[in-house]
């Protein structure tokens, strides 16, 4: 009889759950693809270049550190997701050194300098985008027009256009109304669809959807590559939630607190009084949906317990409210997340050990 193979001896437990970190990360990458595809569909080659450079730069940076640590970690997918997300948060016309530098900064400085995967305390993607926003404000405002927009109009993202309009002294009114009076170029498709809806569906209510509602809904405006199509982003987010890849506490707390603050206080800085903030515009422009479901849910930089996650999400909502309405750097989401990350160790300290107090008594 042949020599029997030796039996493997390993410690208990001998079974493991189905979830693995590899699967988690690559699932997130997969769920970003619909939104990325929409961005590429709208902006063609420039968007593809930006995404490619961002992801490639991140992978290259990770490879560089692999030389020092003598362990190749590209397979765990986190560098790819970081790079992809940075690319999605770039305007499509950004000069290519911007996403390259942002990705390199994110991986080399924010992630690897602190010890690599799991050891960083600041979200690398958010920090990389903030770095780019501060360093190259011009480069980060290189918007591209969507196909089908009016000839000769300079492309501006709706949020930035709104800020410019208010700075120029537009009279207080709803965001979409302000943009329309400023002559923001909504697409022809938007005009046709809204015309039909207003005439046929809503005529009996007397309600009129302002120009731009449909464009914002499907993401047919200028903007960052990945933030445009909220429905596709929500699709990806629903998949992630359904598969328990991400937890609902952070995004739901984030969005609800921001929405509440927006509705209640949003009108005040614009001189419109209480309970007059524009919620639809805030949610569908800028990267708040992308940030809430894909950036803020990064487990490494969020709290460990569910109550902690709710507090974190709420603090992000408050921070974003102030940054959107009173700040001026981009759309505030990456900066809010970076600031929120600074609070996470404190939140963990308060929530993690609180429930374990009886062990301290027993010890």
């Amino acid at each position: 009889m042949a020599e029997p193979r030796p039996l493997a001896v390993s410690p208990a437990p001998h079974v493991v759950g189905l979830v693995s970190s590899l699967r988690l990360t690559w699932t997130v990458a997969g769920c970003l693809l619909p939104a990325a595809a929409w961005g590429v569909f709208l902006f063609r080659v420039p968007a593809l270049e930006v995404l490619g450079v961002a992801a490639g730069s991140a992978l290259l940076a990770e490879l560089l550190t692999s030389i020092f640590t003598r362990r190749v970690t590209l397979g765990d997918g986190s560098a790819f997701v970081t790079g992809l997300l940075i690319g999605l948060l770039m305007p499509p016309g950004a000069p290519l050194y911007v996403p390259a530098a942002a990705s390199a900064f994110a991986i080399l400085v924010v992630k690897q300098t602190f010890g690599g995967l799991g050891r960083n305390w600041m979200n690398p993607t958010a920090a990389g985008v903030v770095f780019a926003l501060i360093s190259w404000t011009g480069g980060m405002s290189q918007w591209l027009p969507v196909p089908g927009s009016a000839e000769g109009s300079a492309a501006v993202a709706p949020l930035e256009a709104l800020r410019a309009a208010y700075a120029a002294g537009a009279r207080p009114a709803g965001p979409l109304a302000v943009l329309s009076t400023q002559g923001y170029a909504w697409s022809g498709l938007d005009g046709r669809v809204l015309g039909w809806v207003n005439d046929h569906l809503l005529s009996w209510t007397g309600m009129v959807l302002p120009r731009g509602t449909f464009d914002l809904l499907i993401g047919n405006t200028a903007g960052r590559i990945g933030e445009l199509s909220v429905p596709l982003l929500l699709l990806g987010a629903a998949w992630l939630l359904g598969r328990s890849v991400i937890r609902w506490q952070v995004p739901v707390a984030f969005l609800s607190v921001f929405c509440a603050a927006s509705i209640v206080f949003g009108g005040l800085p614009l001189g419109r009084g209480w309970f007059a903030g524009g919620l639809y515009f805030q949610l569908f422009s800028g990267s708040i949906v992308l940030g809430a479901f894909f950036l803020a849910t990064d487990t490494v930089t969020s709290p460990l317990t569910d109550p902690g996650r709710l507090i974190y999400g709420a603090s992000l909502g408050v921070l974003l409210f102030f940054l959107r309405y009173f700040g001026a750097l981009g759309d505030g989401v990456p900066l809010a997340i970076v600031l929120g990350n600074c609070l996470v160790p404190l939140i963990d300290r308060l929530t993690v050990l609180r429930g374990r107090a009886r062990h301290r008594e027993a010890a």
Binding site: P95, V109, T113, F131, I134, S135, W136, T137, G138
Partner: protein, 231 residues
């Protein structure tokens, strides 16, 4: 302690900015341009040197040649306060002199350094040497110690400034001389530099990397003789 290694210690192992992490305010604030860092280094170097020498002379006069390093402990209740008062006075005078020199020879530089020139008087590196100055009355030792620290400070500041200005502004600013305007523009970088490095946050990141890399490089084993000497 060998005098040679004392000086070397100030530059490398005991570098105030990179290793001991004192004097960080100017290190982060005035390193946006190389020329600012240069003038700051000159200021700190001269003030540190002269303060140290003055303090050593003073303690020599007060306690005499025979007193050992623990003389300050036997100096009585009032001695430390007198010593600190003296140190601050001396440092302030020297700093004021330096400011006047700056105003005279490089007035735009004086404006550029702003509040950080007068703050040399309370720079931690200068004040860090008040206690040892009381004990170490050997003038040549004091001189070498101060030289080492001053050079170390200059080394660190210039390094940080070089990185911050090249990457953060795309230029290198030096003394204007003749037809040379003083600013070297780096092609490519100067059109789109990473301005984040020009802000305080970027400065702190550079500082952090300097400190980290210094510690990493210090891991090299120290030769036994030198270690015995500096122990």
């Amino acid at each position: 302690m060998k005098s040679r290694s004392l000086a070397r210690r100030g530059i490398l192992n005991g570098n105030p900015v990179a290793m001991v992490l004192v004097g960080l305010c100017p290190a982060a604030a005035v390193t946006t341009r190389v020329i600012d860092a240069l003038w700051m280094s000159v200021g700190v170097f001269s003030v540190l040197l002269l303060t140290r020498v003055c303090l050593s002379l003073l303690s020599l006069l007060r306690d005499g040649e025979s007193a050992g390093p623990s003389a300050d402990l036997r100096g009585g209740e009032g001695a430390p306060r007198i010593r600190w008062l003296g140190a601050l006075l001396i440092a302030s005078c020297l700093t004021a002199s330096f400011e006047l020199v700056l105003l005279a020879f490089a007035p735009e530089e004086s404006a550029s350094l702003g509040i950080y020139a007068p703050l040399i008087a309370v720079n931690c590196i200068v004040l860090d040497r008040v206690e040892p100055a009381a004990g170490g009355k050997h003038i040549p030792t004091a001189l070498l110690d101060a030289c080492g620290l001053g050079l170390g400070f200059a080394f660190a500041l210039l390094l940080i400034a070089a990185v911050r200005e090249v990457l953060g502004a795309g230029t290198i600013t030096l003394f204007p001389a003749g037809t040379f305007g003083g600013t070297i523009e780096i092609p490519g970088l100067s059109s789109a530099p990473a301005r984040a490095l020009g802000y305080a946050g970027g400065g702190l990141i550079c500082l952090g990397y300097l400190a980290g890399l210094s510690r990493l490089l210090r891991r090299r084993p120290v030769p036994a003789a030198e270690e015995a000497g500096t122990a």
